[in-house]
């Protein structure tokens, strides 16, 4: 957050968002003034995604091409097994059309003592029975990837299912080699169906 004074960059036009600035952004190294200038840009730099994907690719320890970042630590990558979700630690979560939470570890807080460990005061802690706190961890690096607070029995929320082919083909004009009509489909229930004994 606290960039040194000498490294402050002036960003008044979209063209001034340099690849180095995007790298520093990912290093958590921008000052509030720099974030503010980015927020105030009259329009965004349309090639941000290219600078961003390059910077992300050089930061992860794997060679699979990153197609899209979907959370702080999760990416959709092009792997030999197809388009899958992968954590930056290298752990794979399978087909991106399936809610990645299905390949995570989950820890449930459904009692008052366990819920008040994180919502510290009983006056504002979610009520057991009505709500449970689900923490999803990466089985590889133990990072907490998501927290959801839902009534028991509520199907895990599938946060984000991008339509990658439309994005790459129509918006970036760089179609993906394995483009196909069934990539933008939710396959979550196919997996849970296979879990039945």
């Amino acid at each position: 957050m606290s960039g040194e004074q000498s490294r402050l960059e002036t960003i008044e036009r979209p063209e001034e968002v340099s690849p180095r600035l995007v790298e520093r952004m990912l290093e958590g190294d921008l000052s509030w003034e720099e974030w503010r200038q980015l927020l105030k840009l009259p329009r965004k730099d349309p090639d941000r995604i290219h600078k961003y994907l390059r910077a992300l690719q050089s930061r992860v320890g794997f060679a699979d091409r990153i197609l899209m970042r979907i959370s702080d630590h999760l990416y959709i990558v092009q792997s030999p097994a197809g388009r899958i979700v992968k954590c930056d630690c290298g752990r794979e979560f399978g087909d991106y059309r399936v809610n990645w939470k299905l390949s995570a570890l989950v820890y449930i807080r459904d009692t008052a003592p366990s819920i008040t460990e994180v919502y510290r005061c009983k006056d504002f802690a979610p009520e057991p029975g009505w709500s449970e706190v689900r923490e999803y961890y990466c089985p590889g690096c133990a990072t907490q990837l998501c927290v959801e607070v839902v009534p028991p029995g509520y199907p895990p929320i599938f946060e984000f299912l991008p339509d990658l082919d439309t994005f790459y083909r129509d918006w970036l004009e760089q179609p993906l080699a394995d483009a196909a009509s069934d990539w933008y489909t939710d396959r979550t229930t196919c997996v849970t169906a296979s879990w039945k004994d």
């Binding site: 927020l39 460990e117 709500s131």
Partner: protein, 747 residues
């Protein structure tokens, strides 16, 4: 002034209708021509011909709207309007489409076209007639799209050379709505007949003057006549300022330019939003959900239909298509019920549009164009689109604010994917409002709403910094909680003894949400007084279900009351008294504060009688977190401890930070922190179970219906809609016609 002789205009088809064209004809024409673009405006001719003149035209109208708000609010006596600016003005086309709005309660632009359309379709032009100087007022959610009856609207048709050329409208949130339970968001309302004074648009004045009967109605049918009448006059003053500005603008630019130009402004606004979505979003589907509890058990003596607990569910799915179209869909939400938290489409649309203003409307002209581009979905029969026209709709903002939060978070997923990290944040907000009614010792009856918590919530965390406390509300971009003294002046029995930020009251994360704040009042000389609350998510659940990138969602609202205390004695003796819910606990613990009886509410309070020396305290507006708390810089955690926002235990358990409280500012143990964080990661791997294993166990529980009745009822009721039935039975691998035996009662 420039005569209207613009060259571009000469070439433009003369679409300005003649003075004799009926509004019904105009509306049909508008609908016919507004399919893809707005009103058949395929090219922005005036803008292209002379952009400077075009922008000057828009600015002149916008200045009129801003001035209307900034000046007329001083006509009001309610701090909600005068100080906090809980009002909005709009300039509309003859068909009712917003051309521009002032600052303020921007979501209410969704209501405006609904009200005008209703008047046109119901042939108000013939009866009661629409003439220059006529005033129309109302607050009905069903016919006018008012978010709740507490939002009152005034419409003034603007004529030029004998022809209706526009509408001016003003709205604000009033102090008391004349409901069964006092205040402006009445809880425990089972249908519209207990929602209060609900009025479809009516001609309430002529020649710019209110009819005497209308002011008598405010006096007889609400408990805050002085405030409500002045608010009504405030809205008319603002509308008249807008009317004067429109006359000036037409005199300068000409009528044809006005008609063409306003349609172009709307089309321009539509294109701006579309362009921004294309620039910032990713085609695809993002999801979140919200839950709102409503404890109505016990009301059956009077309202047997409503006598149950509710758990209201609403999914928030944002779908962006290849053409940069955006649909914010709530399909699968709970059916409507006999409770206060249903809303008619105006309420849902207002919330959805607010999320769009936050995410995709920068640098744009905010007007009907945004509404034309963005689709909002609510299934008929659901809580946001009841198929019963007398369903209660006294407090849908309790649920729809979750739609704003969820849709902002959905938008952030696109920003993150495209690398616009500066835009990524957790747009969570809840709200609360103490309200009530009574009779003062001098015999005067009164009703009130304190809007402070509606004026400021904490911001949720950004992807790169913590949220700020009390800095923001999505629904009023000029956020302000008002002065305590102003509120005391108009709520004479409630005296503030503290407004404090609440430690630990946030969603934790690598970056944490801003902490929420509390207000605490001592009751003095109330006469007879019963207070209750209107508000958003209560603390039985969180504001939003799915947190961002490993951060915790923000906790909801709570309310506490303390009765038969020794506060009078302490105050008379000049002794200190507590200023927050946590200090109250301390004062009770060390014996300074004596309390005979207390209540704690994580659901809505019924009216509670308050007597001299009683204390009322509530907390609201916590922000959600972003990212895994174990990744938070230890020095930020240490700063939070030193500043009093975080306890040492939370630092240890949630953030894995070792801090020695005895060492004060020097207490941070970096080496211990590294070890502790490694231990916590190991613990996560040990206690976390593969979701597949959890699914197998949980599925048996689902099949057995082993949940509290209310949760079972929620699942069952939502399964009356195909969207949730498919989701629920599909995920758990159940038969398509799966159901629980004791489905929630709906009669």
């Amino acid at each position: 002034m420039t005569p209207p002789n613009d060259a571009a205009l000469q070439e433009a088809p003369a679409r300005a209708a003649s003075a004799t064209t009926s509004l019904k004809t105009l509306l049909a024409e508008r609908d016919r021509l507004s399919t893809d673009c707005y009103y058949g405006v395929t090219t922005l001719q005036l803008k292209d011909a002379d952009p400077t003149r075009y922008e000057r035209f828009y600015s002149a109208l916008r200045v009129g709207l801003f001035s209307a708000r900034e000046v007329s609010k001083f006509v009001s006596a309610s701090p909600g309007s005068r100080e906090m600016g809980e009002l909005l003005f709009g300039l509309l086309t003859p068909e009712g489409d917003p051309i521009g709005i002032s600052q303020g309660l921007a979501g209410s632009l969704a209501s405006m076209p609904i009200g005008v359309r209703w008047m046109i379709v119901n042939d108000y032009e013939t009866n009661p007639g629409i003439r220059e100087g006529d005033i129309f007022s109302g607050d009905d959610p069903y016919t006018m799209g008012a978010i709740h009856p507490g939002d009152c609207f005034t419409y003034l048709p603007i004529f030029y050379a004998g022809r209706l050329v526009a509408w001016a409208t003003g709205m604000n949130h009033i102090m008391d709505v004349g409901s069964m339970i006092g205040g402006s968001w009445p809880p425990f309302s089972q249908d519209t007949f207990t929602d209060g004074f609900v009025m479809p648009l009516s001609k309430t004045g002529e020649n710019y003057e209110y009819h005497a009967w209308w002011l008598q109605v405010w006096k007889r049918r609400t408990r805050a006549a002085v405030f409500n009448i002045l608010d009504e006059k405030m809205r008319l003053s603002g509308c008249q300022m807008i009317e004067r500005k429109v006359h000036e603008v037409i005199a300068e630019f000409g009528l044809d330019y006005f008609v063409e130009g306003t349609r172009e402004i709307i089309e321009d606004g539509r294109r701006d939003v579309k362009r921004n979505i294309r620039a910032l979003a990713v085609p695809g589907r993002a999801r979140n959900a919200g839950f709102r509890t409503a404890g109505y058990t016990g009301v059956g003596v009077l309202f047997p239909l409503a006598d149950r607990e509710y758990l209201i569910h609403f999914p928030i799915e944002s779908r962006v298509d290849g053409e940069a179209g955006l649909m914010i869909d709530t399909a699968g939400a709970s059916p409507w019920g006999f409770h206060s938290y249903n809303g008619f489409p105006g309420a849902l649309h207002g919330a959805a549009y607010l999320s769009v203003m936050d995410g995709y409307a920068h640098g744009s002209k905010i007007n009907y164009g945004l509404m034309h581009h963005v689709q909002v979905g609510a299934e008929k029969g659901s809580v946001f689109n009841p198929d019963y026209e007398h369903a209660a709709a006294s407090n849908p903002w309790a649920t729809t604010v979750g739609v704003i939060s969820g849709a902002i978070n959905n938008a952030s997923r696109g920003f993150l994917a495209r690398g616009y990290l500066e835009e990524c944040w957790t747009g969570e907000a809840s709200w609360d409002g103490v309200q009530g009614s009574g009779i003062l010792p001098n015999g005067q009856g009164w009703g009130f709403t304190n809007l402070q918590f509606v004026g400021g919530s904490a911001m949720g965390a950004f992807a790169y910094k913590d949220g700020l406390p009390t800095a923001w509300t999505n629904w009023n971009h000029r956020s302000d909680i008002g002065n305590a003294e102003e509120w005391e002046y108009v709520t004479p029995a409630l005296y503030y003894i503290g407004r404090r930020l609440v430690p630990e009251y946030c969603g934790h994360g690598k970056f944490r949400g801003g902490v929420g704040h509390s207000a605490t009042y001592v009751i003095r000389n109330p006469g007879r007084l019963a207070v209750n609350r209107g508000g958003g998510t209560m603390a039985r659940g969180t504001v939003i279900a799915n947190g961002m990138a490993g951060g915790y969602p923000a906790p909801g609202v709570f309310v506490k009351t303390y009765h038969e205390t020794n506060m009078q004695k302490r105050m008379a003796a000049g002794e200190p008294f507590p200023s927050s819910p946590f200090e109250i606990d301390e004062f009770i613990g060390n014996g300074q504060l004596k309390v005979r009886r207390s209540t704690t509410w994580k659901q809505d309070t019924p009216p509670i009688e308050m007597k001299d020396g009683d204390i009322y305290t509530h907390a609201s507006g916590a922000g959600g977190g972003w990212g895994d708390p174990l990744e938070r810089l230890p020095k930020l955690v240490a700063e939070d401890i030193v500043n009093g926002w975080l306890g040492v235990e939370t630092a240890r358990e949630v953030y894995g930070v070792k801090f020695d409280a005895a060492a004060g500012g020097e207490g941070l143990d970096l080496e211990g922190t590294a070890k502790l964080r490694a231990t916590i990661r190991k613990r996560r791997l040990q206690r976390g179970v593969p979701v597949k294993d959890w699914w197998r166990v949980e599925r048996r529980r689902v099949m057995a219906g082993d949940f509290i009745t209310t949760v079972r009822a929620m699942h069952q009721e939502c399964m009356t809609f195909a969207r949730y039935r498919e989701e629920f039975t599909g995920f758990w691998g159940l038969e398509a016609d799966f159901g629980f035996d004791d489905e929630g009662e709906r009669t």
